[in-house]
Assembly symmetry: C2
Homo-oligomer: 325 residues x 2
Amino acid sequence: MKPDTKFLQRIKAIQESTNLELQKLSLPEEPRYLYDPVRYVLKGKGKRLRPILVHLTCDAFGVDEGDKMTTALAVELLHNFTLIHDDIMDQDDYRHGQKTVHKKWDESTAILSGDGVYIISQFLIAKVKTNPVEAINAFNKATLTVCEGQAYDKIYEENQQVTLDEYLLMVEKKTGVLLGVCAELGGILSNQTPEVRQRLKSYGINLGKAFQIQDDMLEIFSDPKTMGKSLGSDLTAGKQTALTILAREKYPEGWDILRNKLSEKTTEEAIPAFRKWLETHKIVSTVERLIATFVDAARKELNVVPKDKRYLLEHYTEMVLNRKK
Amino acid sequence: MKPDTKFLQRIKAIQESTNLELQKLSLPEEPRYLYDPVRYVLKGKGKRLRPILVHLTCDAFGVDEGDKMTTALAVELLHNFTLIHDDIMDQDDYRHGQKTVHKKWDESTAILSGDGVYIISQFLIAKVKTNPVEAINAFNKATLTVCEGQAYDKIYEENQQVTLDEYLLMVEKKTGVLLGVCAELGGILSNQTPEVRQRLKSYGINLGKAFQIQDDMLEIFSDPKTMGKSLGSDLTAGKQTALTILAREKYPEGWDILRNKLSEKTTEEAIPAFRKWLETHKIVSTVERLIATFVDAARKELNVVPKDKRYLLEHYTEMVLNRKK
């Protein structure tokens, strides 16, 4: 499926209106210790994939414009809250091309402003007019699940025994469920049956899993210019991704030998060797099939969307999966 | 007013049922990285002052038992969330006689489990049957204000120019507003008029301000055995409290000279000298009058409580102010 011009214009319009509305959120000036970092984060250059999904699902089911925009902003703030706190925990220095809050200010500022962003997201989701309590509960349930996902991520980062199933559960919680609630909220705000809501959620979860596993692929197989400098050492040190877990599970000895052999090399030297090994040992094709499984599962759920509106979410599915790193 | 036996039994019963219900909260076992610290915090030995205020206000206005207990737990969790994150920011090692989460585990664990505790509090407050969206909004507004209070606290901790008014605003936001929402929720859950809700909130805010300023006094004037070892050096280094700000504002030179003179002394030697100076310079009596002003303001608001139920909150006011450190 080729992205058509009309769809791309629509996406651009949603991104622009989301960015505009984020700037228009009426935040107090003081205390600047709290609100300056909040403003800084909301000016960040995210792709707004989550608000876009809210918009498209809401449009497919005829949700009120006000409810749609409020919810789109709420999920974007929720996402940014998790990023601010995760970036402290993971000691990441950059996010969307700008310094992370704990790097630009300090950890205390990042903890507090992350809290602030989440509380503001709560005000937004509590504004919806249709099924507000259900919307709030779905929103908070997703948030707690994302925290569970982050917890598993922290546990697994130093664990060389993680199984593919455990990894997939982590990915579902950390990445899938947030896309899941974006689609589910479209169903809640248009008062759909529990089954429709569940299937919309399942669409988002499966798409999110495919998205994250593809991210693992892109990290190793994308243009070397955009590649993280530490990637070679991350891999030899035992970074857990769908690719490396499958490599370890299928070829425990061979994978160990490869990692040892490449442990002294630079990223520029190590990555081509890793790539070649993963391809010849059919790890890449296995992961590609895994991604396809989740994409198929996602696509099937779209049957609950009215037929004449389905193309929006079909195009969205393509867009999410065809992005470049 | 002497605390009567019936009232004290009531308080004890609320504390016990709160502790029991906190233990009964159905938390998942896994991931333990997230839920073990949550369970640890909820076992802590807090005085449960905030749930008690929810109970007493709800009882004065005949709120549904389920709504009352859910809300009492929600505010206790909200309070614990702010403590977990504040303890990281303030690098405090102990809380309620046990190690803080970031000390027992690490900062990442404390950030994430603090987030978890807050999200669980959201589930609880969203369960109320009467005016749920108003309850949720009051709850979240209070939370954001507490964050603003913590932001001012962080700004002021190194600022030797803080005025008493600025300090009082910080105290209102950081401590007052949380007690304010405990009383306000009793009004929301019993469907009182906006005026009654506002006055209940004002009762809690004023009581909270009196409580915090009295805490400043207790810190310097309580039994030396319970005194923090670093208190002497905190004071010479310029810790900002109602007492020290007033001392600096009224006697800038004298206060500086005193601090310099005592800067080499141990807490045991410095504290009696600080106490004597603050008493002879009438700082203590001024602060006592300030506390009395807020207590009076709080008591006046209790006129909105049905006369035959008012004694509960009158006793509570006494209890909060007469506690020992």
